[in-house]
């Protein structure tokens, strides 16, 4: 297992470097003009002088590789420069808003896993009967529904009509339920489908038949033979879900006035606040990479064939 983990860890630095390169180079090569953006945000009139001054201050007159190195080394020390909009250090701003988004994403992940599991088990247990059909039908709609629209529909039903839950704002469980569910719904449906398929495949395996022949109860078979083996491949799928859930949180937050990083970044985009955009992209991508690494490690721990280093 150690070999497996070390191999994954070694891939990390070049990947992170490549990601940072893409972010930096795409920005510079896209024709974006940080100097102008900075001046506009600071409401400084655009004259040849002010532009030249801004370019010098932002280090834009240096060769591009120097600029990249400068940005990268500072980023490694968590210095992402100053926001054009707020004139505060970008890192401080982002760190202020990020936890709320991560909280919502984590809650959405919890909903995804907690609901998709029983749905899939139920559907697999009653294969080709009504429970299976209804869950498959629901899942089909789930992957076709836009999450931001679902959010509004949930608000309409639960906040406007029934008045059971608040329509917006930051808070505890009651404030997280509607946005969390809107974000989670699609991933939930995808995961339920995946798990169901995985379970059906496991059900057809010889070891399930052999267990039955030894007189082991169906419930026990479902739990220790089918489920344990069908959950393993799902673990790697969770990595993909996390990416979609974070993305979903960014969009849905704005609907619920959830004080996360989504609205901050949208502001930054309209103001061409490039330091913020660079930091945001790099940071969230890093978080995503880290989550995937943790999931890979979890998988290595849970599958004895990898944990004990099986030779194929």
């Amino acid at each position: 297992m150690l070999k497996y983990i070390v191999k994954r860890l070694l891939l990390l630095p070049p990947l992170v470097l490549a990601v940072s390169l893409v972010i930096f180079m795409f920005l510079r090569l896209s024709g974006a003009e940080p100097a102008l953006a900075y001046l506009r945000a600071a409401s400084i009139p655009l004259t040849d002088q002010s532009i030249a001054l801004a370019e010098r201050q932002l280090g834009l007159d240096k060769p591009i590789w120097d600029q990249y190195w400068h940005w990268l080394t500072h980023a490694a020390q968590l210095d992402f420069g100053t926001s054009y909009m707020t004139s505060r250090p970008v890192w401080d701003d982002i760190l202020y808003f990020l936890p709320a988004t991560l909280q919502l994403s984590a809650f959405a992940l919890f909903i995804t896993l907690a609901l998709s599991l029983p749905m899939a088990v139920w559907a697999a247990r009653y294969r080709d009967k009504w429970p299976d059909f209804s869950i498959r039908g629901l899942a089909f709609i789930g992957v076709s529904i836009p999450n931001f629209w679902l959010a509004f529909m949930l608000v309409l039903l639960f906040a406007v009509q029934l008045r059971w839950l608040p329509a917006m704002g930051y808070g505890g469980l009651s404030h997280m339920l509607l946005p969390g569910f809107a974000i989670a719904f699609m991933s939930l449906c995808i995961n339920a489908r995946l798990l169901r398929a995985s379970m059906l495949e496991a059900q057809g395996q010889r070891y399930v038949r052999y267990a039955r022949m030894r007189g082991i109860s169906e419930r026990r078979i479902e739990r220790t033979h089918v489920l344990r083996n069908s959950l393993l491949p799902i673990i790697t799928a969770v990595g993909m879900h996390i990416g979609e859930l974070i993305g979903g949180a960014l969009v849905v937050e704005t609907i619920f006035a959830w004080p996360g990083i989504g609205r901050y970044v949208l502001n930054a985009i309209s103001n061409n606040d490039y330091p913020v955009i660079q930091c945001f992209t790099l940071l969230l991508t890093m978080i995503f990479i880290l989550c995937n690494l943790l999931i890979d490690i979890a998988y290595a721990l849970l599958d004895p064939r990898i944990r004990l280093e099986a030779n194929a």
């Binding site: 052999y210 083996n229 004895p304």
Partner: protein, 252 residues
């Protein structure tokens, strides 16, 4: 201990008959061999006995244990155990042998863990303590086959069905397993039905032999009788083919 299987009929949804009106008897003190070419329906018979046929097949039969009717479900584990070919895919890849033993005992309601040790020793796994901690991928085919036998023994089932247990193994391991099987049956007074296509196995283990062809039993006699005077043309064909194979080998 006497198990009777009567009037087993297996067919597909489309109506094709795979096993027709098959009846056989398994009793302690006597080893029955079920022989036939591939596709004759031998493994289907085993699956039907245990009531684990695939969903797309329809079947009906009568099972009688010591004179009383019994379902396949009730036979499983407690009264009847199985060892099969290709043991490596029969074990749960994420469970240790110990966990396999544990669930088998729970299924048959035995609390005494000592039966595990005895069963593994009888099956030829002397280093049973090491083996219990192993996962299937860490074990060879021969070890897994012995483990299957151990699992069958620890459930204390008086009837053992062996479905082509030596087919994937090399000849040396084959002989060991069969010897082991013979010893264990004598020691524990088990009833055994062995399904095979190999007459050498029949000669080594069986007292009675039933020849299957296209879903039917065409001949059912004592082994000595079959080898001396096979009655049915299919039996004759199979025996001739078998002997020819051996004849060729000895000539080279």
């Amino acid at each position: 201990m006497r198990l009777e299987l009567n009037n087993l009929n297996v067919r597909t949804h489309a109506g094709e008959a795979l096993v027709k009106n098959l009846s056989l008897t398994i009793e302690s003190g006597s080893v029955l061999a079920l022989v036939g070419a591939s596709g004759s329906g031998k493994s289907l018979t085993c699956s039907a006995l245990f009531d684990v046929l695939p969903r797309n097949l329809i079947y009906s039969c009568e099972r009688t244990l010591n004179g009383e009717n019994i379902t396949g479900r009730a036979l499983r584990g407690k009264h009847m155990a199985c060892i099969m070919q290709n043991p490596s895919s029969a074990f749960n890849p994420v469970q240790t042998m110990a966990q396999h033993c544990h669930e088998t005992l729970i299924a048959v309601g035995i609390k005494d863990q000592a039966v595990i040790t005895q069963a593994m020793l009888d099956a030829g796994l002397d280093d049973w303590q090491t083996v219990l901690a192993l996962y299937p991928f860490q074990m060879s085919g021969g070890m897994l086959q012995r483990m299957m036998l151990a699992l069958a023994l620890m459930s204390q089932a008086p009837i053992l069905i062996a479905d082509e247990p030596t087919t994937d193994l090399d000849l040396v391991v084959q002989r060991h397993i069969l010897n082991r099987l013979k010893k264990v049956i004598e020691k524990r007074q088990l009833a055994l039905m062995i399904i095979t296509h190999d007459f050498a196995v029949v000669a080594q283990l069986a007292d009675r032999v039933a020849i299957m062809h296209r879903g039917e039993i065409v001949e059912n006699t004592r082994v000595t009788q079959l080898f001396e005077q096979p009655q049915h043309p299919i039996s004759q064909q199979l025996l001739t083919a078998h002997l020819a194979l051996y004849a060729e080998e000895t000539h080279d």
